[in-house]
Amino acid sequence: MSAMGGVVGKIADCDIHPSVKSMANLEPWLSKQWIEHFRSYGALRNQHYASGAAYHKSQPNASRRDAYPPDGGPQGSSLEFMRKQLLDQHGIGFGILNPLISSQGVRNLDHSAALCRAINHWQAENWVANEPRLHASIVVPYEDPEASAAEIRHWAGNTSFVQVLMLSRTSFPPGNRRYWPIYEAAVEAGLPVGIHAFGNSGLPVTSVGWPSYYMEEMVGHAQTSQSGLVSLVVEGVFERWPALKLVLIESGFTWAPSLMWRLDRNWKILRSEVPHLKLLPSEYIKRNVWWTSQPLDEPENKRFLGDIFAWLGWDRILFSSDYPHWDFDDPSRVIAFPATDTERQMFFAGNAQRVYGS
């Protein structure tokens, strides 16, 4: 752990996934109607399988085989074991919960909103209230932006919550005006919007149709996030809400410099189409956007990653472990290239403090 220096115990992990042991865990916060609805119909999403994912993961729940809690349940479902295996072992002093429990993409929008509300209660009361190092994300039914805004306003000011959570595969480009009530409410509440990879949009997961493999799905989150970011910039979301903080979670970031060059270049040619943009696209991105680190790409020459950190700015990238998922990043090993103590401090702790006020 020598590489970690003074940040051990104070590391901010900006992507942790808590699980329910079963959906029954949410029942204390669901009405009888929704409990019965779920038992009869499930939570129907824009995808084939009633449970699990369209692309089968490489292992159960896409999670580490050593992360099953000793007292049973899926990985990530025990606070006690998460404390031991993640927070204590890796010196995490500030962790953000991003629940990926079927709720946000549920097609019945009323059911979606009810599940999101229940998950938010469950986070606040079962996790954050019992562990001061953990902080919650407001899960919103983003395909119903008005209900999402209401959900944000419901929790605004509650210190258990440090961001608003969306998923990257929205049914319309995320900059589309239909989603603007979400951004407006987030800014009003002083909360960053985190957009995490995954989701079920109903569209193929690539712009060239459905691929064959989970591996392609995983690589493709980077391209989906690129398109989402382009939309948010070009539709003018950051022009309208200069104070909006956007955190792209588990989306990769090494693609960002190239995307900014491409956007700037084409904006110069086509700017007559988008007079509402007053700054270069890259200027909005540098002002409004942060990225979490996991999964960190793997060039043969690890110093190339150092170039990307430098080009985006060490102040823009936040450490994340993605616990308990299989592609977990260990903070003591994640920076495998030269970096100064100041840079490490920003990456592991300082940036999260600036974005989330940790």
């Binding site: 490489s58 595969r169 929205t170 049914s171 319309f172 480009p173 995320p174 900059g175 589309n176 949009s201 569209l203 193929p204 997961v205 690539t206 712009s207 060239v208 149709g209 459905w210 691929p211 064959s212 493999y213 591996m215 392609e216 995983m218 690589v219 493709g220 980077a222 391209q223 989906t224 398109s227 989402g228 382009v230 939309s231 070009v234 539709e235 990769g252 090494t254 693609w255 190239s258 060059w261 491409r262 956007l263 270049r265 084409n266 904006w267 040619i269 086509l270 007559s272 189409e273 988008v274 999964p295 790409d297 793997e298 060039p299 043969e300 190339f304 990307i308 080009w311 299989w326 592609d327």
Partner: protein
């Protein structure tokens, strides 16, 4: 002794003025259908006629579409750049037709038009075989028909397809490509069977155009994962008007998941980086690079090879001013590789 250096421009776009232009190459039935049904034009929204990107101002004619004749293209795009071989990639929107019969009425007409109006009129021109992916057997037939003429040097498809290009249903096309010594070129643009982005239809053309880079990334991932490069080690894939500064980040990411998920794609016997060095090339324009030449040189180091890029003007699209086609910061030896060495090694039919 005068220098007789070969210079290849691998991405030039002749324009079809409208379906009437193709009438000499359509059967009487399809001429009649075009008139009766009012099928006047198949220009796609990939390049709407009048955006500032579609045509460079000084290449815009007083009326109609640019690049309509061999004389105009040669005078604007070959001579000023000292190009000795120009590869024509016609983007008339035949790829989007849903009817297989209609598609394979217009597809051969486009290829025959290019042959008669360009290849037969100026020996410096070569062309790509335009196909539609709506019917793979018909595509292979069209490739076979055109491949008999060695002035057709590659096969052309669009980046935005209905299904990812690695899927096995497409493999007869790659088999034909290898059989005839034709690279597979993937060009910017979409059939629009899917929305331009994986998160739906954006509001602005700027987003559509930027999204081409994401489609290319999905396609390269698909071709790699499905094992196309393993099954067809002689196949060359050329990405045209794709941009290329996204390449290092994509390769690093595919590598990351190849390490973790290789069990799913056990036929992949080389790393993504090796496969690209062996079998994939990119056209120079557009250069989505940083303003700082030193930083661009660092991007080239990330790419790790000076043999992946091939000279292109992307004429008549508006990608650069004057004849200033190379970004700052590239050595002469790298430029020579782009204009001559690499295209001559990729296009077997240019030898």
């Amino acid at each position: 002794m005068a220098e007789t250096k070969i210079q290849v421009d691998c991405d030039i776009h002749p324009s079809v003025a409208g379906t009437a232009t193709l009438f000499p190459y359509l059967s009487e039935h399809w001429r009649e259908m075009s008139v009766v049904r009012g099928i006047d034009d198949l220009n796609s929204i990939n390049y709407p006629d009048n955006t500032p990107l579609t045509v460079r101002t000084d290449w815009k004619p007083a009326r109609g579409r640019p690049a309509g004749t061999a004389e105009i293209v040669a005078s604007q795009c070959l001579a000023p750049f000292g190009t000795s071989i120009g590869i024509l990639n016609c983007l008339f929107g035949v790829q989007t037709l849903f009817s297989e019969d209609l598609a394979y009425a217009y597809v051969p007409a486009v290829n025959d038009w290019v042959r008669a109006e360009f290849l037969d009129r100026d020996p410096r021109f070569r062309a790509s075989i335009v196909i539609s992916l709506e019917n793979i057997e018909m595509a292979v037939d069209e490739i076979t028909r055109c491949a008999a003429d060695r002035r057709f040097v590659q096969i052309l498809v669009l980046a935005g397809t209905a299904k990812p290009l690695g899927k096995r249903s497409f493999w007869p096309i790659y088999e034909a490509a290898v059989r005839f010594g034709l690279p597979l070129a993937i060009h910017a643009g979409s059939e629009l069977r899917n929305s331009p982005t994986s998160v739906g239809w954006p509001s602005y053309y700027l987003e559509d155009y930027v999204a081409n880079a994401q489609s290319f990334q999905y396609q390269l991932t698909s071709l790699y994962c499905e094992g196309v490069f393993n099954r067809f080690p002689e196949l060359r894939v050329v990405m045209l008007e794709s941009g290329w500064t996204w390449l290092p980040a994509l390769l690093w990411r595919i590598t990351k998941y190849w390490y973790g998920l290789r069990m799913e794609v056990p036929w992949t016997d080389r790393s993504p980086t090796e496969v690209v060095r062996d079998q994939v090339r990119f056209s120079l324009q557009p250069v989505d690079g940083p303003p700082d030449p030193a930083q661009l040189r660092r991007v080239m180091e990330h790419i790790g090879s000076d043999q992946l890029l091939m000279f292109s003007t992307d004429y008549p699209h508006n990608q650069f001013d004057g004849t200033d086609v190379f970004p700052e910061g590239l050595d002469q030896s790298v430029r020579d590789m782009m204009t001559s060495g690499t295209p001559l090694s990729v296009y077997g039919r240019l030898a």
